[in-house]
Each structure stands twice: as structure tokens, then as C-alpha cells.
């Protein structure tokens, strides 16, 4: 494209220069306004700023050269002014980017579904267990664990289930092969609760103790919608001077509110566990109906959630065999235990406990 040549300049007085430059500036502005696409912008740049044939180059080579010496300064000033304007126009045109038409050609159907990089889901049991543990960690509880294969001593005897005691009947136990020949206290079995870790913890550490124990337990139970031979518990133990039943109540009330919402209420019932005295069952106000009564809470407004109690002095006596500081006359403590599956089933609306252990992608994928 041939550049439009610049007009021949005859007069170099201020008015003539003004008129000449303002005409050029108008032309530049008009041209810049019509710029359409990258090619046009490049052509505009060449037309005005091109090193060989650009119009500003023409001005400098023709007008400046032919100007009388006294007019050179005024002309130079106006020349620089025009150059600045052109450069600004060019910048503005470049910055404006492609035109709408060009953009439209790149239109996408944004209603197509997005591409998902699928992430995995934490198991609902892990998730629930971690939630419970962190509530107690915030209350100053450390985390402990113990073996899944236990001795009769830790699982039963030291938890105040004497050999032959009827309370053992309530926990159908899976045992290792060939234990009949071994001394009762050494017999190996699959722990039926996480409570043995209470004893293991106390044997290793004098009071104070504040510990929460998540873990897997097993019982010789037939599988049905709410029973599984494999399940999980979270156990808690707090031992110190001056630990009271009202501390137990306050701690669990706080924990239930932290887990199920601040409007949840708790109530405590006398119960029986060989390793606590007094023992209690804890109910929370129904999280589905708020306590009014519904199908989930069998119209009672309450849901039974965990067992707890003050550590039985007999349990402290077992611990004192290794740590004499567990003197029931000087210290006291409470313990509690809850079933993780039950809580997870309630929180997530799961109806079959067996789903936790089937590894079904469709079930697990819901917990992403």
C-alpha cells in the first residue's frame, strides 16, 4: 500500500505549521479509529512510523530540511507532538486486541460439561474417626493406638472382666487358634473393644493422662444391616487428680455439640460396664428432628450414642501393678467409647453397615 504523501509546505510561520500538523493529526486519528485487526495496525504503523517511507520520516526529511533556520525549533516541537500522538494511537490500537468479529469466531459452547480431574475420597470411617479425634485433640487429648490382636489380660481381665464372668458373654470374641492350652491371661484374641489401650497407656505413663484411641475391633457377630464382625471405636481416657463425673458430663456434652452442632443436647443414663463405676450411656437429642420425635429416633427424640463412666478402682489397681501412681484414693478418671460406624451411618444417612467394607466405587465416590 502506497503511503499518502505529505503536502508540500510553503509557509513556516506558526499558523501555517499549526494548520499543517493539525490536519495530519486528524488524518492519523481517523485512520486509527478505523483500524481493524492486526494487519491493519501493522499497515498504520508502517504508514506513519515506517523507517523508509513513513509519513513522519517524510516530514523530518522534507519539511525540516527545507525549513528556514528560525522556524526549525517550532517545527521540531510540533513534529514531536505529532509523533507522540501517533505512537499513543498505535499503542491504544494494539492494546485493544482483536475485534469482536475475530473473537466471535473463537466462541465455545460453554454449556458443555467441564473436564474433571477426579480426586479420591477419604473413607467415611476415616473421616468420622478423624473428626472425633480432632474434637478431643482440641480439648488437650493425645492420640494413642494399640494392637488388634490382644491378650485376654488386656482385653478382659485388666478391664475388670474376671475369668468366667458373665459380662464376657456380651462380647462374642474371635480367638486365635489353639489358645486353650495357654494360660488364660496370655490367650490371644481379636480385641472386642478399644478399651485395652486404656491399660496399655496407663502402664506406660503415670497420670495425668488425656488420650483418645481410634481403632478397629472385631466380634464374632453375624452380619446384618447394623452389625458387622469388623467395626471401629474411638476410646477416650482422662486421669488426673480431681477428675469428676461432672467433668465427664461436661466433656462429652461439649464433644457432642462439636460433632453434631451446638443445639444438640445430651442426657446420661445409668448403665453397666465392668471397667467403669459409675457407668453411663449417653443419648443426644435427635439430630434429624431436633428432639420432636421421628422415625430415626423411634419417636423418642433421643439417640443413644456412647458409653462412658468413671474408671473403676479395680482397673486402677491393675494399672498400679506397673505404675504405682494409679492410686484410686488419690487420682480419679473417666473413660468413654463410641462406635464410629454408628455415628458415620447417622451423619451420612447410610443404611447398611456392610457398605463400609465392600470397596464399592459408587458408594465411596459419594464422599469426595
Amino acid at each position: 500500500m502506497a503511503n499518502e504523501t505529505i503536502p508540500h509546505l510553503t509557509a513556516f510561520d506558526g499558523a501555517a505549521l499549526d494548520a499543517a500538523f493539525s490536519a495530519l493529526e486528524q488524518q492519523a486519528r481517523a485512520a486509527a479509529a478505523a483500524l481493524d485487526g492486526e494487519a491493519a495496525i501493522e499497515a498504520f504503523r508502517l504508514e506513519w512510523l515506517g523507517r523508509k517511507q513513513g509519513r513522519l520520516n517524510d516530514i523530518s526529511s522534507r519539511w525540516l530540511k527545507s525549513a528556514p533556520a528560525e522556524a526549525k525549533k517550532a517545527l521540531g516541537q510540533r513534529f514531536n507532538g505529532l509523533k507522540t500522538v501517533v505512537e499513543e494511537l498505535l499503542d491504544a490500537a494494539t492494546g485493544a486486541g482483536p475485534t469482536d468479529a475475530a473473537l466471535q469466531a473463537e466462541a465455545l459452547d460453554i454449556t458443555l460439561p467441564g473436564t474433571a480431574r477426579l480426586t479420591g475420597a477419604e473413607h467415611p470411617i476415616t473421616r468420622t474417626m478423624n473428626e472425633i479425634v480432632s474434637v478431643f485433640a482440641a480439648l488437650g487429648y493425645s492420640v494413642g493406638v494399640g494392637p488388634e490382636v490382644e491378650t485376654d489380660y488386656y482385653n478382659f481381665e485388666s478391664m475388670n472382666f474376671p475369668p468366667g464372668h458373665p459380662a464376657r458373654d456380651t462380647q462374642d470374641t474371635l480367638v486365635m487358634a489353639g489358645q486353650e492350652r495357654r494360660p488364660q491371661r496370655d490367650r490371644l484374641l481379636l480385641r472386642t473393644h478399644t478399651s485395652p489401650v486404656q491399660m496399655r497407656t496407663m502402664e506406660l505413663q503415670p497420670p495425668p493422662v488425656r488420650i483418645v484411641i481410634p481403632g478397629k475391633v472385631h466380634r464374632n457377630d453375624a452380619q446384618d444391616a447394623t452389625h458387622s464382625p469388623i467395626f471401629h471405636q474411638v476410646e477416650g481416657l482422662c486421669v488426673d487428680t480431681n477428675i469428676t463425673f461432672s467433668d465427664l458430663k461436661g466433656t462429652l456434652d461439649h464433644a457432642m455439640k462439636a460433632l453434631f452442632g451446638s443445639s444438640v443436647k445430651t442426657r446420661f443414663f445409668p448403665s453397666f460396664f465392668p471397667f467403669t463405676e459409675p457407668s453411663a450411656d449417653v443419648q443426644i437429642s435427635c439430630i434429624f428432628c431436633g428432639g420432636k420425635g421421628c422415625r430415626k429416633c423411634k419417636q423418642s427424640g433421643w439417640i443413644e450414642l456412647l458409653g462412658c463412666g468413671m474408671v473403676d478402682p479395680a482397673v486402677f489397681a491393675f494399672a498400679a501393678q506397673k505404675q504405682p501412681a494409679y492410686d484410686a484414693k488419690k487420682i480419679s478418671g473417666f473413660a468413654f467409647g463410641m462406635g464410629v460406624e454408628r455415628i458415620a451411618m447417622m451423619k451420612y444417612g447410610i443404611s447398611e453397615i456392610g457398605q463400609f467394607f465392600a470397596g464399592d466405587m459408587r458408594f465411596l465416590g459419594q464422599f469426595v
Binding site: 458443555l112 460439561p113 473436564t115 480431574r117 477426579l118 480426586t119 479420591g120 477419604e122 473413607h123 470411617i125 488437650g140 487429648y141 493425645s142 492420640v143 493406638v145 494392637p147 488388634e148 490382636v149 468366667g164 458373665p166 456380651t170 474371635l174 480367638v175 486365635m176 487358634a177 489353639g178 489358645q179 492350652r181 490371644l188 495425668p208 493422662v209 464374632n220 464382625p229 488426673d240 480431681n242 477428675i243 469428676t244 463425673f245 461432672s246 467433668d247 458430663k249 461436661g250 466433656t251 461439649h254 442426657r267 446420661f268 443414663f269 445409668p270 453397666f272 463405676e277 459409675p278 478402682p313 480419679s332 463400609f356 467394607f357 470397596g359 464399592d360 466405587m361 465411596l364 465416590g365
Partner: protein, 714 residues
């Protein structure tokens, strides 16, 4: 267990609340009523009870009434039965307790001239018939109904013998070797010398505290009856019942501790019902007691109870007054305790600070100060205690491997794998196939099934079951992992002596990569996807060296569940930490799996010994990076890691990264050759690299790979 409120109200006519409220009050005090079923006008309600095993004393109407009396401060009348005048006997009926360690009390009453038949109305209110009907308890005959009535009323097992079948008198003793007894259920039993029996002078008559005998049972022809009401020692009854696989109402009660003093009352109750159809009492009640046993039950020494201890254990109440001495006395007296108070030194009029408490014979579960404290708390009401929080203890400690496990779980989740939990058990055959090290998978003594016969030595069986389970359900994209425990045991003569537990990780995958796109076709997962995940997992730890290797099939090193040529051993700092690869086609076929399955297992006990990697920030170079690619031709025997090690061996600081860009097999190459595009990136921390420098670096790379057999493709 079922309780009639009509019956309760007969004992406590002054009960101030309705049946629903009574149920709630009982429940809140540990006598749990699970359901309340109204029985119609004038009949009260039926309670379905769920009473904890320690409270056998409350598993009957009088026991529940005792609890209700304690709650509302009512007086519970004692059970008493007016019996007809006794006709004096020449000699008392002979009763001897030989097994003094197992029988504490035996009462015998002789009734003669009785008529066995339907129960007559008894007392004014015809209780037997009414109560039995409401309880849907079948009426059988006056003899059976009488013992059932005593059971339902006061939870005391009793037994009626046909007196004419008894030779001489009663002896409570251990069974003799070879002795046999046909029990009421019609089973002929060989007795164990440890079994406790009620016998006559010739033979065993009944399994004591468990079940009566066939030959001495009451029949319609029975004219003379011996009524037994006794107290047997819990362990003796439990062992006898266990040995014979029996669990009866009687054994249930005796195992958990019966009331030592209930026998004469229950005997009178049974006799009264039987005698309503005629007959007379022949002689006074014979009551043989073992002093030693009585001292351990009905005459236990009093227990010291201190008010201060009650407060130390129970803490704050919502009522500012707290648990006062008066409350303690009121509660314990209502439960049948006798209290003698000890006033503090301050003066005679001050409230007592401690008591000596005599314990009721029916509460063998109460024997220590703490048990009395529980009774006080229970009847006072658990929900009247304040909610307080203990002070903070020491600092909080997390599990030592918490960070490592969390970090690995995060990596696995980010890779699109769902966390799963499989069975802790597997079959012996699966254990054999997958056990990572020698040693035995501990067998169970009472497994849930044969398929669950042993503790898993590896997470692989569970992972395989879950992966194939999904594929069988037509879920074709499977990505699962499990963080779990594996077991190995030491066995001696078939008995598991020791079990070791180790943490492990398993993963399994089939189908497509975890990307869901409307626009692009999904790519199938391959070996390198799972290997890449393992590499990322290992990067969470501080390691000195990580490598993967493979063994020829005949080496027998590769686990049998893996494809021998598509499997890798994972070695970290010289230790095998796991295996990964493609499921062995033989195993796939055995499981009818057509899809390609990748899986692996890492032994976390080994990884958890390594410190978790701490990120350290380095200065990022301001200078340009330069990338150079080298197209190499290699013999097929030369694996990438040979090239990798050759390049690493250069230890060239400016060579900041090198990697495989592409691997291709080309017909234009030699038959045993393949081509590999090696990409190298150079950068200096302190300068822009000059062309001559770069050229010399490139030459060194070419030279290094050349030494291990690579040539540049022209």
C-alpha cells in the same frame, strides 16, 4: 423381660405417677424400659425392659417395685405369705450340703396330699391367672405355675420334686464319675465330676441351679411334693450350665448372684399356690445354711462410705447445695442399706461425714464404696450433675506416623484413588499366595467362615476382592487404596503364640485415568500410572536412594500374584518396601477378570522409619534455561535406568533436569534396537549460558550415554 405395671402397683399402691412417667423415671435411673404397651382399661401397661446384666435383682416385679419405691420415697411392704398350720413331722426332712463351696443355702418344704391340676384362684385378686394372662404366660399346672410365679414376682428360681421319687433325703454334691441324669428337656446327660447336682441318697435328681431331672418331676399323679428354694454359687452354676450347653432362667440368675435371703420367701410363695388346691405342710421348713457363704452374701461386713469421697468422684451438681448427707441416707436406705453414721468431730448435731453401710442381700453387685457412690448418683439422677470441664493436662501428642500417613493419604486421594477398608481376614490359600514374608498367617480358632480362616498377612487379598467386586458390578473404572494392618504369627503345635502387626498400604486400579471429559477420549491406566503414584508417595519421605527392579520369572522373586515381566520391586535405601505391577494373568483368569488390573503393596513399617520430607526453599535462578533433546538409539537390553545413571554420573550442576521425552520402536532401526528421546535442561545459577559452554555440556552427555551403549540417531 416383661413387667406389668398392674403388678407393680399391687406392691406400691401409692405410686404418684402414670405408667409413661414411671417408665421414664425408671429408665433415667438405670432400670431401662424399652417400650410401654398399654393393656387396656384397668390392666395398666406392659413394660419391655432392657436391664443391664449386673442388675439381676431388678429383673422381676418386686425388684422393679423396689427401685420405684426408692425414686418416689415410698415404703415397699415386705413379701409375706400366710401358710396353713404345719403338721409336726416326726423327723425333719434330711438335707445335707456336701459341696459347701458351691451351695450356700438349701431350703426344703414337704407338702403332702396335694392335687396337681389347674391353678386355683389364689388370694383375693386371683393374681396368678390375671398376671399370667396379661404377660401371655401359659398356665400349665399349679406346680409349674407356682414356680413361674415366684420367678416372675421375685426372680428366685425354685423347684418342686415328686417327693415319692426321692430316696432318703437330699444331698447337694458334685456328680460322681460316670453318673448320668435325664434332665427335664428329655436329654440323657453324662455328668462331669465337677457338675453340681441335687441328689437323693441314691442318685442325682437335678442339675443344681440349672435344670430339674426327668424322673423326679411333678406329674398329674404326684401326691407329695418337696419344694426346693436354694442359693447356689455363681461360678459353680455357670460352669455346670456351660458344660451342658444350657442357659436357663435359673442358671441366668444364679450365675449373676441370687438373693441369699429369698429362699424361704419364695418357698412360702410356691407352697401357698400349691396348697390352694388342698394338702398340708408336713413339718417345719428345713433350712440348711453354709456359714461361710452367708458371710460372703447376706452377712457381708459393712462398707465405709465418706461424703468427701462421694464429692471427689461425682463433682458438681446443678443444685448449688450438692449431694447432702441427708440425700445419701435417703437414697441408700430406700435401696435396702442400713446406715450407721459417724458424725464429724465438730459436734453431735452436725451432719454425718461418713457412714458404715450394711449391704442388702439382694445386691451382690454392690460391695465397695464406689458401688455405693454409683447408687447415690444413679438415684439422685445423672442429669442433675453439672457439666464441667477438667483443666488441661500435658501437651498433645499425635501418633508418630500421623504426618507420614496423612501425607500419603493426600497423595493417593489427589491421584484419584478412593480409600477403602477390606476384611481383616482371608482364606489360608490367599494368605499363602500373598504373604510377603515367610511366617504364618495366624489362624483363628473360631473363624467366621473358611474364607475368613486366617488373619491377613497382606492387604492384597482384600484389595483383589474389592477390585473384582467392582468389575463384577460393571463398574469398570476402579481406583482403590487401603491403609491397614497386616499380621504374621508364630505357631507352636497348632497354637498361635505371638502375632506381629504391621501397617501396610495396598492399591488397585483398572480402567481409565481419573479424568472425566466431554471432549477428549479417556486414556486407560497403565503400569506407569501406578508406578508414578508410588514414586510420588516415596517423595513424601527423605530417602537416599529409590529404585525399581524386576526379576526373571525363574528367579522366583516376584510375588505370585504379579505378572513376572510387568512387575517391579520397590527398593528404598537398600530395603524392599513393596511391589507393584499388573495382576498375573493366571490370577486374573482364576477370578474371571478380563480387564487389566494393576495393583501393589507397600510395607509401611519400613517407610515410617524414614523422616517425612521437609520442603526447603531454594533460590530460583534468574537466568534462562536451555533445553536440548538427544535422539538415542539403544539395544533393547539397555533399560532407561542405565541411561539415567550414566547422565546422573556426570554430576553436572548446570544440567538441572533430564528425562525421557519419548520411547519409540521403529522398523528402520535394527531388530534389537529402539529409540529414545532424551530431553535435557541446562541452567546456571549465576549466569546466562554461552553457546560454547552448552556445546561442551552436550558433548559430555553424548559421551556419557555413548559409554553405556547409546548412539545418536543420525
Amino acid at each position: 423381660m416383661k413387667i406389668l405395671t398392674k403388678w407393680l402397683r399391687a406392691y406400691l399402691p401409692g405410686l404418684p405417677v402414670d405408667d409413661v412417667r414411671l417408665a421414664e423415671d425408671l429408665t433415667l435411673r438405670g432400670i431401662a424400659v424399652d417400650g410401654v404397651y398399654p393393656l387396656g382399661e384397668g390392666n395398666g401397661s406392659l413394660y419391655e425392659m432392657d436391664i443391664t446384666t449386673n442388675r439381676v435383682d431388678a429383673m422381676n416385679h418386686y425388684g422393679v417395685a423396689r427401685e420405684a419405691a426408692a425414686i418416689y420415697g415410698l415404703k415397699l411392704p415386705e413379701l409375706a405369705y400366710a401358710l396353713p398350720q404345719v403338721r409336726p413331722a416326726g423327723h425333719p426332712f434330711p438335707v445335707a450340703i456336701e459341696a459347701k463351696d458351691a451351695c450356700g443355702r438349701f431350703t426344703a418344704r414337704v407338702l403332702r396330699g396335694v392335687t396337681i391340676g389347674a391353678s386355683r384362684d389364689w388370694f383375693a385378686g386371683a393374681e396368678v391367672a390375671t398376671y399370667f394372662e396379661l404377660l401371655e404366660q401359659k398356665m400349665i399346672s399349679n406346680a409349674v405355675d407356682a414356680t413361674n410365679y415366684a420367678w416372675l414376682a421375685m426372680g428366685q428360681p425354685t423347684h418342686a420334686f415328686d417327693l415319692d421319687k426321692i430316696e432318703g433325703g437330699i444331698v447337694v454334691r458334685r456328680a460322681k464319675k460316670g453318673e448320668r441324669l435325664k434332665t427335664l428337656d428329655g436329654v440323657e446327660r453324662a455328668l462331669d465330676p465337677e457338675d453340681l447336682v441335687v441328689a437323693d441318697h441314691g442318685k442325682a435328681l437335678a442339675l443344681a441351679g440349672v435344670m430339674g431331672g426327668w424322673d423326679s418331676m411333678i406329674t398329674p399323679e404326684t401326691k407329695n411334693v418337696l419344694v426346693e428354694a436354694a442359693w447356689f454359687e455363681p461360678m459353680a452354676v455357670r460352669r455346670t450350665a456351660r458344660r451342658h450347653g444350657l442357659h436357663t432362667d435359673a442358671s441366668h440368675r444364679f450365675e449373676r448372684g441370687a438373693d441369699f435371703n429369698a429362699a424361704p420367701v419364695a418357698s412360702a410363695m410356691v407352697s401357698a399356690i400349691l396348697l390352694a388346691n388342698g394338702g398340708w405342710i408336713d413339718g417345719e421348713l428345713v433350712d440348711v445354711r453354709v456359714e461361710d457363704m452367708e458371710a460372703r452374701t447376706a452377712k457381708r461386713p459393712p462398707v465405709e462410705l465418706q461424703l468427701g469421697e462421694i464429692q471427689r468422684i461425682l463433682g458438681a451438681t446443678e443444685d448449688a447445695q450438692g449431694i447432702a448427707a441427708a440425700t445419701v441416707e435417703e437414697v441408700l436406705r430406700a435401696l435396702g442399706c442400713k446406715l450407721s453414721s459417724r458424725s464429724p468431730a465438730a459436734g453431735q448435731n452436725a451432719a454425718p461425714a461418713s457412714w458404715r453401710v450394711s449391704l442388702p442381700s439382694w445386691r451382690l453387685d454392690v460391695e465397695r464404696e464406689i458401688d455405693l457412690i454409683e447408687e447415690v448418683a444413679r438415684v439422685y439422677g445423672y442429669n442433675r450433675f453439672a457439666n464441667t470441664l477438667p483443666a488441661f493436662g500435658a501437651g498433645v501428642r499425635a501418633l508418630p506416623w500421623y504426618e507420614a500417613e496423612t501425607s500419603m493419604r493426600r497423595t493417593l486421594l489427589a491421584a484419584g484413588f478412593h480409600e477403602a477398608i477390606a476384611s481383616t481376614f482371608c482364606s489360608a490359600a490367599e494368605a499363602e499366595l500373598t504373604a510377603p514374608q515367610p511366617g504364618v498367617a495366624p489362624p483363628l480358632g473360631n473363624p467366621l467362615s473358611e474364607e475368613a480362616g486366617v488373619m491377613r498377612p497382606s492387604l492384597v487379598p482384600g484389595m483383589l476382592a474389592m477390585v473384582t467386586g467392582n468389575l463384577n458390578r460393571d463398574v469398570s473404572d476402579v481406583r482403590l487404596f487401603e491403609l491397614g494392618t497386616v499380621f504374621s504369627g508364630t505357631l507352636a503345635n497348632g497354637s498361635v503364640e505371638k502375632v506381629e502387626e504391621r501397617p501396610a498400604l495396598a492399591f488397585g486400579a483398572a480402567g481409565m485415568l481419573p479424568e472425566e471429559s466431554a471432549l477428549r477420549a479417556a486414556r486407560a491406566m497403565d503400569f506407569f500410572d501406578v508406578k508414578g503414584m508410588v514414586e510420588q508417595l516415596l517423595q513424601r519421605f527423605e530417602t537416599r536412594s529409590v529404585y525399581f527392579d524386576r526379576f526373571e520369572a525363574e528367579d522366583g522373586m516376584t510375588p505370585q500374584w504379579l505378572h513376572p515381566y510387568r512387575a517391579a520391586r520397590v527398593v528404598v535405601d537398600g530395603l524392599t518396601v513393596g511391589w507393584l505391577g499388573q495382576l498375573h494373568p493366571r490370577q486374573a483368569a482364576a477370578r474371571k477378570v478380563k480387564e487389566t488390573v494393576f495393583l501393589g503393596e507397600l510395607y509401611l513399617d519400613r517407610l515410617y522409619k524414614l523422616p517425612v520430607r521437609r520442603p526447603v526453599a531454594r533460590e530460583i535462578s534468574r537466568f534462562q534455561t536451555v533445553r536440548r533433546d538427544f535422539s538415542l538409539v539403544l539395544d533393547k537390553k539397555i533399560a532407561w535406568d542405565t541411561i539415567d545413571r550414566a547422565v546422573a554420573g556426570l554430576r553436572m550442576p548446570e544440567l538441572v533436569d533430564w528425562r525421557v521425552r519419548e520411547v519409540f520402536h521403529d522398523a528402520k532401526l535394527g531388530r534389537n534396537e529402539y529409540a529414545l528421546l532424551l530431553g535435557a535442561t541446562f541452567q546456571a545459577a549465576d549466569r546466562t549460558l554461552r553457546e560454547e559452554e552448552l556445546r561442551s555440556y552436550q558433548e559430555r552427555v553424548v559421551e556419557a550415554v555413548g559409554k553405556v551403549g547409546a548412539r545418536l540417531r543420525s
